[in-house]
């Protein structure tokens, strides 16, 4: 982790946009909300970390490509089918981004398969067109937000 969250927030106050957006710190956030509930100033730190990730992706400046690719691969399946698909996510993400780990992952995958914990056929929702229309509209609105 490049900066502690405290340092990162001080950097935001100081206006160090480049350094903040290229820091890998937000990508180490596990969304546990411990900071958010404890912050004496009631700063929604977790949500700000999300926003920093979003801004970093948009600016093409993030320093932790794996984390961003993992999120994007996950979302790809959801947008395509309406449900997440773990066997596909693990395979696609690791083949493209961690090919050296595929064997290790395969061993764990076999264990999951044997215990009936890794269905190989993805599930889809019925009204996927409806979901895709909603997401397309939301993306258009989000793009307008960024312009404004």
């Amino acid at each position: 982790m490049d900066h502690t969250p405290r340092a990162l927030f001080a950097m935001i106050s100081a206006g160090l946009e480049d350094e903040v957006l290229s820091s890998n710190t937000p990508w180490y956030c596990v969304s546990c909300y411990a900071c958010t509930t404890r912050c004496p100033q009631n700063i929604p730190i977790t949500d700000i970390m999300y926003t920093l990730k979003e801004m970093a992706i948009r600016a093409g400046r993030y320093d932790h490509p794996h984390a961003a690719k993992f999120s994007e691969t996950f979302i790809g399946f959801v947008e395509q089918r309406g449900r997440s698909f773990e066997a596909g996510l693990a395979t696609r993400y690791h083949l493209f981004h961690h090919p050296q780990q595929v064997i290790k992952l395969g061993i764990m995958g076999m264990g999951m398969l044997r215990r009936n914990r890794l269905p190989l056929r993805p599930k889809s929702i019925r009204q996927i067109d409806q979901l895709q229309a909603i997401l397309a509209e939301a993306k258009a609105l989000a793009a307008k937000e960024v312009e404004a």
Partner: protein, 317 residues
């Protein structure tokens, strides 16, 4: 009990890697006499991934589920997965709290001929629903096989305890502790009950994740727990499936089974281990069943002060 038929949002994990959670939830529902009616055509909640990439579509994705539930006449929705619970709860709350966000989400939903009025559907976690609507006393009454002699570490994880606690405390919740005690088990003092399991970190920085997993498993073992009890599919996956990897990395040999709270309730209700999905875990949990005793273990008498001990400090006169 207030209702017997609950609108239900299972989430993707329960249909994939956490089938035991689904099976045991269905089994105890049958046994306790309530029905879970799945929301028709629900979609993924986006987990912790979508919110960190594109905020507005993330809210719209979650809101579709709330809109469907409302259209299908639901006033509440019961959710077993912590991440799904958080996302549904957060979307409902923030759409109301930030009307501008609410209207944008509804603009997106309109593209699919849907609309959601925030506040219409109350989002509830399965554990909270069981504790509130069925209650500890009723669970105690229905217990056929008390879990005498079993030492359990209640592990709440993050997303049900925080940020909007549905229990008594975000730091030190005790709701599940009381439930496990009512079932006859002994609850060990467990200081990492709301420490994070690492979520998706195993995929991003494995060393970071293994450190977090190791801390929780070690703390449970050091507290003398026979097993960890979870209420979240992600926590169960990390602590169970990656326990061996953490052992290898830290050169330890912990074997702490990780159960869903619904499996523990099921055992106490006298249901069969198979019906509750036992055997799908990586660290074998079936050994726990042999540890259950027929009579409650004697209460440990508090140690007496030794006669040679130094005097206790006293307030000056």
């Amino acid at each position: 009990m207030t209702a017997s038929r609950y609108p239900y949002y299972p989430g993707c994990s329960l249909q994939h890697r956490s089938h035991a959670y689904q099976q045991s939830t269905e089994a105890i529902a049958r046994s306790l006499g309530f029905e879970l009616a799945e929301i028709d055509d629900w979609n993924c909640c986006g987990a912790t991934e979508y919110f960190s990439v594109n905020r507005l579509p993330a809210y719209a994705l979650v809101a579709r589920n709330l809109a469907l539930a409302a259209d299908q006449g639901a006033e509440e929705i019961v959710v077993p997965c912590s991440a799904c619970f958080l996302n549904l709860h957060k979307t409902d709350k923030n759409m109301k709290l930030y009307p501008e966000l609410g209207s944008k989400v509804n603009k997106a939903l309109a593209a699919g001929n849907l609309h959601y009025e925030p506040g219409t559907v109350k989002v509830r976690h399965l554990l909270e629903m069981i504790l509130t609507d069925i209650g500890v006393d009723r669970l105690k009454d229905r217990t056929r096989r008390p879990l005498y002699g079993l030492k359990l570490a209640p592990y709440y994880g993050c997303l049900v305890a925080r940020p909007d606690s549905v229990f008594d405390s975000t730091e030190q919740p005790t709701a599940m502790d009381k439930m496990l005690e009512a079932l006859g088990a002994q609850v060990v003092p467990f200081s990492l009950k709301t420490f994070c399991c690492g979520g998706h970190m195993t995929q991003i920085s494995e060393e970071t994740a293994l450190d977090m997993i190791h801390r929780i498993v070690k703390c449970a073992a050091d507290s003398g727990a026979d097993a960890l009890v979870t209420l979240c599919p992600m926590c169960q996956l990390n602590l169970d499936v990656y326990q061996e990897a953490a052992n290898r990395y830290f050169e330890t040999s912990y074997q702490v089974p990780v159960l869903f709270f619904t499996q523990v309730i099921g055992v106490a209700l006298g249901l069969s281990p198979k019906e509750l999905g036992f055997g799908q875990e990586f660290v074998d949990a079936r050994v726990l069943l042999d540890k259950i005793q027929d009579v409650p273990p004697p209460r440990a008498t508090p140690a007496r002060r030794s006669k040679q001990a130094l005097p206790m400090p006293a307030m000056p006169e």
